[in-house]
Symmetry: C2
Subunit: 242 residues, 2 copies
């Protein structure tokens, strides 16, 4: 069995973002990312700051940890990162979870294709807009969406863009025009990753959310879209592992 670098296993909690927002789920967070977004809220997965917390675990060991924490109170696991698409053998974990009747969601920025994307029950592709300082590789993104499409997986796929600026909104429009048939989720970015006053954070996030909603409402390019805040940040602020 292969081993995967795991930084966190936690839950059950709710999915705070995107296509299954509010869904009861466990989380498995893998270490490592091929990006380094300026506003990354999981920089500890790749910047070395949590290196000593990384555990090399097999699929069996991950399932065992999930059951230890979640007992019988879960039927859904979200694999997050970092970028979990770095691991070509992750289907060992996906298959094992499916054999236990557990559904699997996964989020990746869309910089790598993996054959096991076809097995993910709810796949979120989250390309990064200009404010991240990352450059989208359109060829790879087109290929990923092409593979998903030709395997009839688009109904299990969504696009999510985190929005900080007006340039990010322009990028989101470009994405929507390029892939009009894939549900698009726009999410308010969190600019205050160090804010530990939860009330102040909550107010700022809702103000920012209001701005994004208003921008989208007047756009005739962005009709078939969802606009969402991060529910877990509204609930628990910038804390990790909730």
């Amino acid at each position: 069995m292969y081993k995967f670098p795991v930084l966190e296993i936690f839950g059950p909690t709710i999915q705070g973002e995107g296509m299954v927002v509010g869904r009861k789920t466990m989380f498995v967070r893998t270490a490592g990312c091929d990006y380094s977004c300026s506003w990354c809220d999981s920089a500890f997965t790749w910047d070395g700051s949590s290196k000593e917390d990384i555990k090399q675990l097999t699929a069996d060991e991950i399932l065992c940890r999930l059951k230890k924490d979640g007992g019988k109170s879960f039927d859904y696991v979200t694999i997050s990162g970092g970028n979990p698409a770095l691991f070509s053998h992750l289907d060992e974990l996906i298959n094992l979870l499916h054999s236990e009747n557990v559904k699997v969601a996964l989020e990746t920025q869309g910089s790598r294709w993996q054959e096991w994307f076809l097995k993910i029950d709810d796949l979120t592709l989250s390309p990064k807009p200009p404010s991240s300082q990352m450059i989208t590789n359109w060829k790879i993104l087109d290929e990923i969406i092409g593979h998903l499409s030709s395997n009839n997986r688009l109904q299990y796929t969504s696009l999510k863009i985190v929005i900080f600026t007006n340039e990010d909104l322009t990028y989101a429009k470009k994405i929507h025009e390029r892939f009009p048939h894939i549900p698009l989720y726009l999410q308010v970015g969190n600019e205050d990753l160090d804010e530990d006053n939860e009330e102040r954070l909550m107010k700022k996030l809702l103000e920012k959310y209001k701005w994004l909603v208003n921008e989208v409402m007047v756009s005739s390019t962005l009709n078939s879209v969802h606009v969402l805040p991060q529910l877990h940040t509204l609930l628990w602020g910038n804390r990790r592992g909730v």
Copy 2:
């Protein structure tokens, strides 16, 4: 053409609740309800207080009003009430919207069947828990879900329960055990319909949401569920028409 009693047409805004939470949509709110829930947040649709605002409109007139407000910035309309399932000829409106490539969502408590339920793109059945003081007619609810199931419409259907009390949670578990294959959305009830201090309201709603999330997380009956707040109340408080 038939006429329908309409109380409000507004948008574009976001859907604040349930299966398509965050979706950009226009709203059409019909007048009249066969229920009188103790905590109804749309009591003006049935308690006579907004009687003089009701307009009798044809489907054509409703579409015209939607276009006047929404321009080219919408492709989705949510029909809400009151109980829009009181109107047997509502398919005139649904067909007209579909002919304009507009999707249609509708919410009803599940006290009446209408043949046009089969045409709704996203149908929310929202039976009312004990705190509402209403009594669920299980025979009718079973029939509605039976019809939807035998017509292959369950993938377009969800159940939503507003939760105020522990008894409501018990009711939600009963619903989930009775209809395990229909996605279940649990929503925090708003106890402060008269609160006009938005910050105080926001804090209370998030506290209540935290309570509900925590209750659901430890339950092994409630696994395949979504737990959500009302996003529009977090954004705009108790204001109408947003």
